[in-house]
Each structure stands twice: as C-alpha cells, then as structure tokens.
Symmetry: C2
Subunit: 348 residues, 2 copies
C-alpha cells in the first residue's frame, strides 16, 4: 500500500503558533512529533516511509522535507498554488510511476490527531484488503462520540459485511445544526467525514476523467509540459475530492474508525484532549498559574503567568500573545483579519 | 532649594515590565520620560538638575546616571543595600557639602506620577518659603479625591495659615479600611501621605541624632571610614523617615497638594489614568482587540491580540505575558513569589 499525505493546508486557527509559513500540520502542538510526522509514523509498518507521497505547497516543501527525511524527496510534491483536494490527489497519482498505479493508495490529511494508533492500523489494514479485493473506492468514517456540529457527516446505507462493519455510503452531509447532529448520532447511521480515502490509483484517475474531465485534461497538459506547471496548475478547477468525485459515485463504502480521532480544529479542541491539572487547566511550556481554573495556558517561548482567570485560552509566542475565551476560539479568524487590515502581515 | 530623589525602590507590581534590574521608577509606562526623569524634570525651574541629589542602589546607579545626564555624577548615591528611607535620607544629607546644609531640601519619591506640574510647583514653592522662613519640617499631603484604602493618611490639626492652607500634622495613619477611609475623606481633616518632605538638611540631621541615634552614629562611622561602607551601611537600622523621625515630632506641618497625584501602585492604577477607547479599553503598543471591554492591553514588545475578554490586564514583554483581572492586580506578588519558588529568577 502507498500513502498520499495531503499537507498543503494553511489554517490560521492556531494563531499565533500557526503561521502562513508554519501551518498546523508542521506544528508539534503537544510536544514530540509534528502532526505531519505523526501521520507518517503511525502508518508503519503497514506503509513504509519509502512508499509515502506528500502533496504540499511550494512555500512549505522544504520544511516538509526536513520533517520527513525518510520520505524520498521526489515523492514530496509542491503545488504552485492550492486548488483543493481533487487536483492535488489527481496530480499526485499521476506523479506515481505507471507500473505502480495498480496498488492501493490511502489518502490522509496531514493535520489530524489519532490517539489509538493500533486501532487505526487495524482498520486501515482491513480497508486496504477490501479496497484491493473488490477494487473499491472507500472512505474511513469516524465513529462519532458526540453530536459535533463542526464536522461533516457520511450518511450510511446497506450493511455489506457484518464481520468488518463495512457499509455503503449514501451521501455526504455538510456540518449540521445541533438538533440534526443529535439525530445523526442517535441513529447510528452516520459517521464523521475524516477525509481519509482508499482506492487503486488507476481507478481514481479513471473516475477523475469521468467526473472532472477539466482537471484530467489539465493534468495531462502538465504531464506534457511540466516546465509550465506554474501557469497550468493554478488554472485547474478548485474542488474537493468529496464533491468533485465521491458525491458522483453510488458504490463508495466505508469502515467505521474508532481510534480517538480529532481534526484538532481549534485551541479549544486541543485543550480538550490534553491532560488537565487539578484545577482543570491545561498547560504547555513555562506556565505559572495562581488561582486559575479551566484555562489553556500555552507558552511556546518564554512564560505565561496567569492569576484569577477562568475559561480562557492564553497563547504566547515570541512576538505575540492571544487571549480569548475557550468558547470563542473559532473566531480567531477575526483577529487574523484584523492583523491583515492593520498591515501586520509579518505576524501572519 | 535642593531636591533629594529617592530612587532605590525595587517593586514588582508592574511585573513583567518592571524587573529587579529595571524597577518602576526607571520605566516609561506611558511612553516618554521615565517616572524618575519626570520627577526631576517637573522640578525645573524651581530646582536645577545641578541641585538634584539621587539616592539609589548599586544595582541601579548606572541606569540612573544614564537617565539623568544633567545631574552631577557625584550626586547620584548608590546604597550598598536598601535600609528604608531614614538611613537613605540621612546618608544623602551627610553627603552634601557642609556649607550647603542650611538650604531647604525637598525629598521626593522617584516613582510617582503628577499630572499638573504647574500646580505641583506652585505648592512646592510656597512650601519651600514656609520651611525656610520658619525652619519647619514639612510634608506635602495630597488632597484625597476618593476614599482610597491603598494609601496612608496624614491626620491634620490646627489651621495655621488660612491663605496657604498650612496645617499642623497630628499623626500618621496606616492604610485604613473602607469605612475609615470614607470617614477620613468626608471629614476634610486627612490628606494622603505622598512621602514628600521639606526641611533644612542641618535640621533633619539634628532630628536624626535625637530620634535615631543608632543611624546617626552609623552614618558618622561611614563618614570616618568611607571605604567600609559596604559593611557599615547594611547594618544600619531599617526604618522609614515617617516612623523613625516624623512620628516623634509635634510640629510637622503640611500643605495640601492638588495636582493629579498618583503613586501608580498597580497596573489597575495605570489603567485608571490612561485614555480609554470607546469600549473602555486602554491600550499601549501594538494591540488588536475584537469585541473587548474595559481591559488594559499592554504590549511592550510584539503584539497583544484579544477577543471577547472583559476587565482584564494583559501585559506582554519579550519573554513573558501576564493575564490577571483588573481588580486583582495587587496579587501580582503571588506570581512573583511563584516565579522565585520555581527558580525562574531570570524573569524577576
């Protein structure tokens, strides 16, 4: 099996630690490996680093190479511009040697967190077998543990294999409202969409030709004139693999993944998975807290000192500090927009 | 008139901006002059910098010299150790040339803020005349503008000069509770103790001999063997001029000072005197605030970004950030103690 890791993201949700030049997937938010490194590390021994491909951006490719010294350099692809996942996957698959395109490829986002690596690998192993044997297109959906309104959902259909839990995917559901999310989770017929896909490379390229012919033609042109990729790639349609391909298929199947998955979408989400002290505070780095409760106190450099505060996220980097209530960390984009409006781009 | 500026303080109330090696009086909390520089600047033209003496500590004397280039270097005295104000004043007066000790000296703390410099100078001018003409010992008390429980008070006695407001000081009152403070202010018979004193140098040295003979003898010993000051000075009794001398006198007089005085005792006090934006936020340095109310957001270096917070003090320096509710800024000492307990002395 090959793995294709999508590492082109440029999120701002972890500002000020995440920056345009150092987005979330390159960060070691908990200490230790970065999210990107952990994504590759947890594949072993199922997928060797020599069989890992990474699709990232030109701005990040050098850092990706540094973080993944065991991944062959020619398998770290740098997009001239982000065009969402359908072009990224198509281009990456076409970059693989022709005689290897019968193999199963698992596509993985580079910036998610998985707690139980063994459980993840067991499911992945089963998924690889099912994909290979049936020439399937699969997605791994995550068993929901709460009615989360921040994730997309997969609506499930027929049960195909009681022993593995394999089910048909009926359709993709955008982020639901609270009542809908509760109904989804109670029904047992929905999984969180984790953006993990499996297919044979050749099969997916065929599907792309059928459902996204403009992307397919664009990728052919790039193959003929690779020196013009800087002009050609940015003009590809920008569309996700979910909506560009998967939505058009009626035979996508899924296995439920139950492995402590999180997309780590916010500081609050990070606080939710890190260990808490007796006062409910999560701390990282040098932190002094006096009479504080239920905060995330995060010092990337230097020290965070807090007294008498509750329910806040405080993050310090060398040049910046962010203070925001935990339940409003989704609004960091407003801070980032204000930085941009004020010409403070060096801080982005 | 000479001025003696007491600049040996080592407060921690403005941590993380104030440090042991850079205490409050050396800071420019509002921008512009430091509190020490402002203390000297507002004396002109009543007292020329050439007539200013400064008593500070060995650790700070170089910085004091740099901040006050117009004050003669030999008039910047460096205590080997802090022994409170009675020894500091006694030693400083004995360092003045013998033939200048008939002059009036005004003693001023280096770390207070005064808004109306003209009003301050007018009162000081009157006080100098009264001190000189009557060989008085005076203190300048501040007209209270609220029942503050953070200040000591002077209890006033007989009205001596209706035209200047000169009154007798009956006794010194420690920081009162709220009810007592309200009674004090309502009565019109109390002023805030601002630690500003006037006397002829010779007169104060005589009083020191009477009321603090051990200090007087110690200072004589230092005069005889100046090379041994490092051993002798630290063994002087540590006592304030208020309790060591003033409390023993029954003829101390005062003029009320009405000049927008503040001892800037906390971040909250600083927030109280700086201009606020439409949302009640006081900001200094590079600050981005979104939906924030009634905060002090202070960036000495880099940026403070805040969203959705209220009533907080957030202060960022290069290496540290402090977050504390405005009404608990007095407790910063607990943070400083915790830093010390954790061996983080470089941050003090």
């Amino acid at each position: 099996m090959k793995a294709l890791v999508l590492a082109g993201g440029s999120g701002t949700r972890f500002w000020p630690v995440s920056r345009r030049q150092r987005p979330k997937q390159l960060l070691s938010l908990e200490g230790g490996s970065s999210l990107l490194q952990a994504t590759v590390e947890r594949l072993a021994p199922l997928v060797d680093p020599s069989s890992v491909w990474v699709c990232t951006t030109e701005a990040l490719s050098r850092q990706v190479q540094e973080q993944l010294p065991l991944v062959p350099e020619n398998q770290i692809l740098a997009e001239p511009a982000g065009r969402n996942t359908a072009p990224a996957i198509g281009w990456s698959l076409r970059s693989m040697p022709m005689d290897e395109r019968d193999e199963v490829v698992v596509v993985l986002p580079a910036d998610h967190r998985i707690e139980d690596h063994d459980a993840f690998r067991r499911t992945l192993e089963t998924a690889e077998r099912i994909t290979r044997e049936g020439d399937r297109v699969m997605t791994l959906g995550v068993q929901p543990v709460r009615p989360d309104t921040g994730y997309g959902y997969l609506e499930l259909g027929r049960r195909l294999e009681p022993e593995t839990g394999l089910r048909q995917v009926l359709r993709y559901k955008e982020k639901p409202d609270q009542a809908t999310a509760e109904r989804f989770v109670a029904s047992g017929d929905y999984l969180w969409n984790a953006g993990i896909f499996l297919f044979r490379a050749k099969r997916l390229l065929e599907l792309l030709e059928v459902h996204q012919p403009e992307i397919a033609r664009g990728l052919e042109a790039i193959e003929r004139r690779p020196e013009q990729i800087g002009d050609l790639y940015p003009s590809l349609p920008s569309i996700s693999i979910d909506f560009g391909v998967m939505e058009h298929l009626d035979d996508v199947v899924t296995l439920p993944l139950d492995c402590g998955w999180s997309d780590l979408g916010s500081w609050d989400a990070l606080a939710g998975i890190l260990p808490r002290d007796a006062n409910g505070n999560v701390t990282k780095g040098e932190v002094i807290s006096v009479d504080c409760q239920d905060n995330l106190l995060y010092a990337e450099e230097g020290i965070v000192a807090a007294l008498g505060i509750e329910g806040l996220v405080v993050v310090k980097t060398r040049d910046s500090v962010l203070v925001v209530p935990k339940d409003r960390t989704q609004e960091i984009r407003d801070i980032v927009a204000a930085l941009e409006d004020n010409g403070l781009t060096p801080l982005l």
